[in-house]
């Protein structure tokens, strides 16, 4: 996944990248592994500027899936910071650019929530529930959104 040009560009553009290697950085791996409860490799954490974990990817993923997860993580970060418009934009970007990944239905759900947070209009939740009748019907996120119909 790391040799993929799109992943390289995305990481370099959006993050300060750091790595602890299980053998080469054994002490650091143990220390940060305990701090962030990361006991398996590969584990990728997206930390906000304060060092707080906002998203986690465990296990290998192909490039599209990884990019979807990384984008989802940034959107979650914006959501946690109550930057609703940025969050919604990021979530919708996941759905548009990586529609066939596991990140997409989760992003569709949270895009609706982000819009609701921004506007207070419950129609955004209804619209999201309706969108789930058209795609990702069998996902857990469709089930979660079904109460909004």
């Amino acid at each position: 996944m790391w040799p993929d040009e799109r992943v390289v560009r995305f990481v370099n553009q959006h993050f300060l990248p750091a790595r602890v290697h299980v053998k080469e950085d054994a002490a650091e791996f143990k220390r940060y592994g305990e701090r962030y409860n990361a006991l398996w490799t590969p584990t990728i954490l997206e930390l906000d500027a304060e060092g707080v974990e906002r998203h986690r990817v465990e296990g290998f993923l192909p490039a599209d899936d990884l990019l979807g997860q990384l984008t989802l993580g940034l959107a979650h970060m914006a959501f946690q910071q109550q930057r609703w418009a940025d969050a919604e934009r990021g979530f919708r970007q996941v759905v548009q650019q990586f529609p066939h990944t596991d990140a997409a239905p989760e992003a569709l759900y949270w895009a609706g929530v982000a819009r609701y947070k921004a506007t207070g209009d419950a129609a955004s939740l209804k619209d999201t529930a309706r969108a789930f009748t058209q795609r990702y019907q069998k996902s857990t996120w469709a089930t979660k959104a079904s109460v909004w119909r």
Binding site: F15, L16, P17, V22, Y32, G33, P42, E46, A49
Partner: protein, 82 residues
């Protein structure tokens, strides 16, 4: 050559110089603020294309830098061959 170069426009700054004054092979271009011949453009672009992620291992310092720059950190716990 000009059509192919367009593919690299997102990586390097390229524009033709006096395109009607010289033949294509002898044309000079600007690549990342340096003058160069067309043949060199592909080498520069290929080098940028293959540039890996510059992972840092001084995590404490990375976290400090992240706070100072208000930028997220990607922390990779890895067992991949180095």
């Amino acid at each position: 050559m000009p059509i192919r170069l367009k593919r690299w426009n997102h990586l390097v700054k390229i524009r033709p110089v006096c395109p009607n004054a010289v033949s294509e092979d002898n044309a000079w271009w600007i690549v990342s603020d340096f003058w160069t011949r067309p043949g060199y453009i592909q080498k520069v672009a290929t080098r940028e294309h293959a540039m890996p992620i510059q992972f840092r291992h001084d995590v404490d310092q990375v976290l400090k830098d992240a706070k100072a720059q208000q930028k997220p950190v990607l922390l990779d716990f890895s067992a991949a061959p180095m």
